[in-house]
């Protein structure tokens, strides 16, 4: 685990490094040069002041030179800061793209079982929003930090050479503001922050309920519970928010006032007037303080201003790292090719959480050319069992062996080339129908796609769509659940893998689809190995082997006729079911 975390970290930094190094070097240098050059015109004013205020004739050439230098400085500043900002943004784009690609690559390698419906949204947020949140860290912060620190530092040194006493006086507002900072970080503030986050969370979850459950909300009384709950959460949040803001306001206002130009000017002018009237300073020396002194407050202001963004960016980086650190399904160093496609489960145990075994020692052989039907009550471990074949998970103990090779020693190309499955919620991509069917066989020709579609009984429907096989799902046309399911079947048929795993519950969306699947499966000739979670009796009756699962163990196994004749658990199970839905399968009289 530790190794993996470290691994994730290196990946993140390795991906981001070329961009960051360039950004740090070029962006910062350009910005520094530009910002410092921006001081030139102010210095020109100072020189002008000295020349005008000094007794005797004005040195016109010196003044003109100073003005020229000032103007040139402005030009340099414009050029360099624009270049820095532009470059920073471009690099930022690169880094974000690299990060997103790294995330996509990692997510393409983690065990499929790791995904769950709930996580999809969170993961999408990491790839989208969180990567975007890194933006200020890369595109803005370097530049802003340079402006906020380099310029004041240069100004400070310059002012010190002019008059160290007035420099210290000029710094008093900064000191005042810094002294107030601890007040902003009191424990009570911390608590307020937590309350604030909690209240925001309540709003978010009540919105989700309100909006996603809108049909329920509306059908059970228009301005019902969810609406009230949302309003209550909103009111609650607003009051927490205003308390939060108020708690901050006095201290923050004090800080902002201390850093504001009028206040700094009062301080500088008072100090300057005192020193000039006492004869301790030449009047002209006041000018640089009026011009540059105001900028000394920039670092404190910048820290306060950019702090939230930087914090948010850091949290986002943390989440990105977490995802990159998820252990990927280990790929074997020397993949072994399977010999044939006999599947064997050897003493398989599996637990999602330690101590709660879902499968408790399953031994099962699936011979090529046979159909094995898994039946059993819900919670018996059926779904988990079939998900081990396409290696959504690795078994906790024991092994799944395909063609004599442990799945863990099989390269993923071999594995997915051999095992095909229809049981996830159908996921159609927003792409053409042809591409969707050919997803697993990218180089399939249109005639192959059409053949698969025909077998899946969806060809006619596709032809009715505005652009036939080029119809983009979700853009040109939407498909009903059953149609989508048939596309998925066509996809599996085109993949033509020798091992097929199927869950009837999701495969039979409607009578047409069920018929299509049955017909299609019947045409699958040869020595395919099939494993089916069966819900229909005819599937059970037609299977070569039935496996009855209960509580994670196989309680009965054998040929359907034998088992049904035995009057054992399977018979009891099926009778309970048939009596419950007695008339479902009555023959029609057509």
């Amino acid at each position: 685990m530790f190794r993996n975390t470290a691994d994730g970290r290196t990946t993140l930094e390795a991906r981001a490094r070329p961009g960051l190094v360039l950004a740090a070097a070029a962006v910062v240098t350009l910005q520094a040069v530009g910002a410092v050059a921006g001081l030139a015109p102010l210095l020109a004013v100072v020189e002008l002041g000295r020349a005008l205020l000094s007794p005797g004739p004005v040195d016109q050439d010196h003044v003109r030179a100073a003005v020229m230098v000032g103007a040139a400085g402005l030009f340099v500043r414009l050029l360099f800061t624009a270049a820095s900002s532009g470059l920073g943004h471009v690099l930022d784009g690169h880094v974000q793209l690299a990060l997103r690609r790294a995330l996509a690559a990692r997510l393409g390698r983690v065990p499929i079982g790791w995904f769950s419906r709930r996580r999809t949204g969170e993961l999408a947020k990491v790839v989208g929003e969180d990567v975007s949140a890194v933006h200020p860290l890369i595109a803005h912060t370097p530049g802003e930090l340079v402006s906020a620190f380099v310029v004041p530092l240069v100004s400070l040194i310059y002012l010190l050479t002019i008059d160290w006493r007035l420099t210290l006086i000029t710094l008093t507002p900064v000191v005042l503001a810094v002294a107030l900072v601890p007040l902003l970080m009191l424990p009570s503030r911390q608590r307020e922050q937590e309350e604030y986050d909690a209240a925001m969370g309540r709003i978010a979850s009540s919105v989700v309920e309100f909006v996603q459950g809108i049909s329920v909300v509306k059908t059970f009384g228009g301005s019902g519970r969810a609406h009230r709950k949302f309003r209550a959460a909103a009111d609650d949040f607003v009051s927490v928010f205003s308390r939060w803001v108020r708690g901050m306001s006095l201290v923050a206002a004090g800080m902002q006032l201390a850093l504001s130009p009028p206040f700094v000017l009062v301080v500088v002018l008072t100090g300057g007037t005192a020193m000039i009237t006492s004869g301790g300073m030449a009047p002209a020396d006041l000018l640089p303080f009026l011009l540059l002194g105001l900028g000394l407050t920039a670092p404190v202001a910048a820290l306060g201003h950019g702090f939230d963004d930087i914090q948010a960016a850091r949290r986002a980086v943390g989440r990105i790292r977490d995802v990159l650190a998820v252990p990927s399904l280990p790929e074997p160093a020397d993949p072994v090719a399977p010999q044939g496609h006999r599947v064997e489960l050897r003493h398989v145990r599996f637990a999602y959480e330690p101590g709660h075994d879902v499968l408790r020692g399953v031994d099962l052989v699936l011979e090529p050319g046979t159909v094995t039907a898994v039946v059993g009550p819900s919670g018996s471990g059926k779904s988990t069992l079939v998900q081990l074949l396409p290696r959504f998970f690795d078994p906790t103990h024991g092994s799944v062996v395909l063609g004599g090779v442990d799945l863990r020693e099989l390269g993923s190309r071999d594995l997915y080339g051999t095992v095909s499955f229809v049981f996830q919620d159908t996921s159609l991509l927003r792409a053409s129908i042809a591409d969707n069917i050919a997803l697993a066989v990218p180089h399939a020709g249109l005639e192959d796609v059409v053949r698969a579609a025909r077998l899946a009984n969806v060809h006619d429907r596709v032809l009715e769509l505005p652009r036939g096989y080029d119809t983009v799902i979700g853009e040109d046309a939407g498909l009903s659940g059953g149609e989508a399911q048939r596309i998925a079947i066509a996809r599996a048929l085109l993949a033509d893998a020798p091992v097929l795993v199927l869950d009837e519950a999701t495969a039979f969306a409607d009578p047409q689809t069920e018929q299509a699947v049955r017909r299609a499966l019947a045409t699958l000739e040869g020595d395919r190995t099939m494993l089916v979670i069966a819900h229909r009796l005819e599937t059970v009756a037609d299977a070569d082997t039935i496996v009855m699962l209960e509580n994670g163990v196989i309680v009965e196994q054998g040929r359907p006729a034998d088992l049904l004749a035995r009057n054992g658990k399977l018979t009891a199970f099926w009778q309970a079911r048939t009596s419950a839905i007695a008339d479902e399968h009555e023959p029609t009289t057509a």
């Binding site: 004013v45 002008l48 016109q60 003005v67 030009f75 500043r77 414009l78 624009a82 943004h89 471009v90 930022d92 784009g93 997103r100 690609r101 996509a104 690559a105 390698r109 499929i112 999408a124 989208g128 309920e209 909006v211 996603q212 329920v216 059970f220 301005s223 969810a226 309003r231 607003v238 205003s242 306001s249 206002a253 130009p261 009028p262 206040f263 002018l269 000039i276 006041l286 011009l291 396409p390 993923s412 190309r413 080339g417 996830q424 927003r430 997803l439 990218p442 059953g482 149609e483 993949a495 519950a505 409607d510 069920e514 049904l564 079911r577 419950a580 008339d583 479902e584 009555e586 057509a590």
Partner: protein, 573 residues
Amino acid sequence: MIRTLLRVLGHEYATPMRRTLAMMTATAAVEGVLYALLVPILRALFGRTPADAWPWLIAFAAAVAVYAVLRYISDLSGMRVGTTMLRGMYHRLGDHLARLPIGWYTDRRVGDVSVMASRGLLAALGVMAHLLAPFISALVTPLTIVAVMLVLDWRLGLASLVAVPIVVVTQVRTARSMATVDAQRHDRDHEAAARVIEYLQAQPVLRAGGRTRERFGLLDDSLQHVERTSRRQTLSMLPGAVGLTLTVQAIFTVLLALGTYLALGGNIGAAEVLTILVLAARCADPLLSLSDIGAKLRGARSELDRLDTVLRTEPLPEPDEPIRPERHDVEFDAVTFRYGDRTVAENVSLSVPEGQRIAVVGPSGAGKSTLLQLLARFHDVDAGAVRVGGVDVRAIDTEVLMARIAIVFQDVYLFHGTIEENVRLGRPDASDAEVRAAATAARLDEVIERLPGGWAADVGEGGALLSGGERQRVSIARALLKDAPMVLLDEVTSALDPLNEAAVHEGIERLMAGRTVVMVAHRMRTVRRADRVALLDRGRIIAEGSHDELLSRGGTYADFWNVSTTPVAGDVG
């Protein structure tokens, strides 16, 4: 922007909003005027009697105090208005969302609105609250300073006045060109987010095709689009930012050169010219910050625009003089309904006498669920009418209509809370005994016994902790408790495990007893118990009658059922 804000908020906020804006403007103006006091101070300090500066300096300090107080008050007022607005916006949005027809809520909208109503709103208002004052001050303070300069020296003042139109034009132009790019960026981000979700959900299939080892084209393309758009965003931002900087700097250079020239020629006093240059330097920073603030305000503005779009979406019209239906028979009278450019229902006529059941069957995509949605008025028909008890549903008050209907959907959404809360939703004032009875009738009691915590068991977000069959049972119990005279049922298509299947079946039978029922049916046993059956295909009714009648007629209806009723059940049993 303020106008959009006020429209979004409703005009009762106009007065406090204007007051705050006025306060902020006054504060910024005082800051500008305060700088004018630099003139006598510097004149004294740079002259022969520096001590003359003291009284002016005291005046300056007093002005700073006034400025501080004004600023504090306007900040407070800004915050107060901000929080009131926040509350107002949340309420307005919430009220409006509750009025929008269910048909409006597509998957994409659900996602958008969820974000908008939580973080989006706050972000938009937060930007307003934080940046409005700096924005106003960045505009007003320099303007005041220009006025001061005009008084001091008309030539230098005029020179700086030139900046005003240029700054305004660059800002407006940038805002305009950025609006397009910003919108593009938003779309691209949206698309990429959708692609990411798609990529995640399609992992099994993608891996089967070996598509995740190389970069997955659809996703990678959209990620690259995002990058390209973001670069375009930067590029189109540059002219505005550079233009602004160039203007400000050029004006400063002009002032510097002109001031120097005038001073060298003895046409202006040293103190005056130096003060003007100090003031000009003072203007530069806030002016330059305009482009940054502008970008952030634009972000908030587009959020407001999205909110505005939602708020402007008209809910289905409510009748002025609603009619309460006296009976509960249902009639579809030549109903046509289009969704987008697809005709989902075409000239559908159906009638269900009170207390009878009609089953709608047909291939997927035939428009079966749409009929239920039209009856519950998720959408309004494009032609024809849907009537309950002889009254057009459009003439019935929505709450009244909803009170008469109990719906059991395929996808059951449960609220995060206990099972009891979710059942009670059916009739909040029901007694405990009634709730228990409904649960027993829906065979939910078995589920409750099994769950740790029983009635108080948490169902998880959206009901995620229960299985599909168990959620169905909760939803049936809810509908039973509601005890509405009409039942709309969308039968689950996917097979449940036998136990749940039986329980759900039993619950639904009890729910339908004695009520007017319109159901979308997939199981023959459900259809056989219906009084009438309508076979729907591509939005049209192609056969109607009792099940046996239709079967004996043969044809499409018999074909439809044949496919799933191969006689095997008789072999076992």
